[in-house]
């Protein structure tokens, strides 16, 4: 058990290291460097030279990578080109805002998804299942900006219940965020619910035909007890990983939703970074978002390991 956990931890650290390689040298492989990308049309020989000097871009790539990685380990992500501020400072509050959004969406999405997933799984191929599955496919695959736009039209323009855009600064207190983020939360919840419920449904179907559920039925255990005591706990186990994947997707995929609602999160900062061709900022956000993805998956793996004794003896991956 201990060895298994240490292996998972080691693997996570290794993956984050490889991500840093991909992020740094991937950006390096693209034509031009941070200076030409940032200055674009305005670049002159002098201004390029000055900027390269200022940010140490004229050193060889390997040396810069080692420096960047060294700073990264110390928690320093370098300095943004467009805003002349440390990247960590820019990310700080926005990261908290995105976390609030993601947490709120998760709190709503998980129970809804489990309830709908169980209903669909128990009524396989009958109308409740068909309806739920159809709606799930639609809400899962529509781009976030489409869902958001339709929601804005209905709830912000027609009904005027919620604001269409958030007009708050990135360092506003959480209490001020809450009324503004209802539409972004609903948008994200749609997608999350769909992903999770599809897996709950499949697991429910698998579990309900298993021997021990059949046995319980034959013994005359009431249906409600079978579902909640026998089936659901087992159907939930594999769901932990998909919930983690969905949360991790959410952290990366909120960018568009944040942009639409003008929400001051890390995703909209990422889009700004891309528009400004601010490579140090982009690299910093990339490594942070990827690391979150890895950590959330790691937690899910460990949780599954604790809850499912059978996994502990499983070797390898």
């Amino acid at each position: 058990m201990f060895i298994l956990i240490m292996r998972r931890l080691g693997l996570a650290v290794l993956t984050i290291f490889i991500i840093s390689l991909i992020v740094f040298f991937g950006v390096e492989a693209l034509p031009g460097d941070a200076a030409t990308a940032y200055l674009g049309q305005l670049a002159t020989d002098e201004s390029l030279k000055a900027l390269r000097e200022e940010f140490g871009l004229n050193k060889p790539p390997l040396e810069r990578y080692v420096n960047w990685l060294g700073d990264l380990v110390k928690g320093d992500l370098g300095e943004s080109l467009s805003r002349k501020k440390p990247v960590t400072e820019l990310i700080g509050n926005r990261f908290r805002n995105t976390a609030v959004l993601a947490a709120a969406a998760t709190i709503f999405a998980v129970p809804i998804a489990i309830v709908l997933g169980v209903i669909a799984g128990l009524t396989r191929d009958k109308w409740p299942d068909i309806t739920v599955s159809l709606v799930a496919i639609i809400s899962m695959t529509l781009p976030g900006f489409v869902t958001a736009t339709v929601l804005i039209y209905i709830f912000a323009i027609r009904l005027a219940w919620f604001p269409a855009v958030t007009l708050i600064s990135s360092d506003a207190p959480v209490s001020q965020l809450l009324p503004n983020i209802i539409l972004p939360i609903i948008t994200l919840t749609f997608v999350m619910v769909a992903h999770i419920l599809r897996l709950v449904r499949t697991n429910m179907i698998d579990v309900m035909v298993s021997d021990y559920v059949q046995m319980a039925r034959l013994k005359g255990v009431p249906m409600i007890k079978i579902v909640f005591q026998h089936a659901l706990p087992n159907a939930m186990l594999p769901t932990i990983n998909i919930i983690a994947l969905t949360i991790a997707w959410l952290v990366g995929g909120v960018a568009i939703v944040e942009t639409i609602f003008n929400y001051p999160g890390i995703g909209s900062l990422m889009i700004h970074g891309i528009s400004d061709k601010d490579l140090p900022l982009i690299q910093g956000i990339a490594i942070i978002l990827s690391a979150i993805f890895i950590v959330i998956n790691l937690i899910a793996d460990l949780l599954a390991l604790i809850l499912n004794p059978r996994l502990r003896t499983a070797r390898g991956h």
Partner: protein
């Protein structure tokens, strides 16, 4: 080249009928699958022929008739610049559809072959390669796409290669997993024992057996790419103006959502019907092939 002798030797695959006919038979019984397929076909026909039948030139501006509500002359009204929304919605999927279809072909081809190859070879090379694949897949997809496109430009071939490359990485995992299910089978062992060349085993033995997984993955990839491409376009990194395009139409016309919502609804309806069509089809297709698609992770 004749290969009937090898086909007859495979004991695990007993299919009395033509697999294509069988899949089609299964698919035909699913109303949602057929509905999805019809939506796809309609979209392909519209993309191909729309320039011939749209009532107005989608590029012509006329400030006198800006922001008009739907009427008999303009079925979905006009946008801020007085262009016909219906015509633009019809034509607006052409670039998107061409780019995503070509990119899907590239993604499934390179990702599929790569996955089969590494699943077949196994060992150290496979382990190291998969670490890189996992790491790559941990980076937010939107960031990768935006970064490449913002630096290399938004020409069509750049987009096709970018999407083909990026989405192919997730295909590697799927193809590899499917291959690992087959590699230990006796018929692969037999092929190895016969002294078949590696290339022959990959192309003749493994590829046909994981092809069903690849095809379903291709359909899914197409839908994820549509999501990705239109998202990029929505953010202003897609098809350059004035070419009409769903993603950029939705982005631009959002300003007039309160006064002329049809300028947004037009492209929203077109894009949604295509994506929903692909997914209904992909679900039914996976079921017809005996695969379960619902385990797929969000990418």
């Amino acid at each position: 080249m004749a290969i009937p002798a090898q086909v007859a030797e495979r004991p695990t695959i007993i299919k009395s009928r033509n697999p294509i006919a069988e899949t089609w038979d299964n698919l035909r019984r699913s109303w949602s699958g057929m509905f999805g397929l019809s939506l796809i076909v309609i979209h392909l026909v519209v993309a191909l022929l729309s320039p011939l039948f749209v009532p107005h030139d989608p590029l012509v501006m006329n400030s006198k008739i800006a922001n008009q509500a739907p009427s008999s002359a303009h079925l979905m009204g006009t946008d801020k610049l007085g262009r016909d929304v219906f015509s633009r919605s019809m034509v607006g999927g052409r670039v998107t559809i061409v780019v995503t279809i070509l990119a899907t072909v590239i993604a499934v081809s390179w990702g599929g072959l790569g996955g089969i190859l590494f699943g077949f070879l196994g060992g150290r090379a496979d382990e190291i390669f998969m670490r890189f694949v996992d790491a790559f897949l941990s980076i937010p997809w939107l960031l990768i796409l935006l970064l490449i496109v913002s630096i290399l430009g938004t020409e069509m071939w750049v987009q096709i290669l970018t999407f083909g490359f990026t989405y192919g990485v997730s295909t590697i995992r799927i193809a590899r997993a499917a291959t690992l299910d087959h590699v230990t089978n006796d018929y692969i062992l037999a092929a190895r024992a016969r002294g078949e060349h590696r290339r022959t085993i990959v192309l003749r033995e493994l590829l046909p057996n994981v092809l069903d997984v690849m095809l379903v993955d291709g359909a899914m990839n197409w839908s994820w790419m549509l999501l990705g491409f239109t998202s990029l376009s929505f953010l202003g990194f897609g098809v350059p103006p004035p070419t009409p395009d769903w993603g950029s139409m939705i982005a631009k016309n959002r300003e007039i959502l309160a006064i002329q919502p049809w300028a947004v609804f037009g492209p929203v309806i077109m894009l949604s019907t295509l994506i929903i069509g692909i997914n209904l089809f992909a679900d039914a297709f996976a079921k017809a092939l005996g695969l379960d698609r619902s385990q797929g992770a969000p990418v």
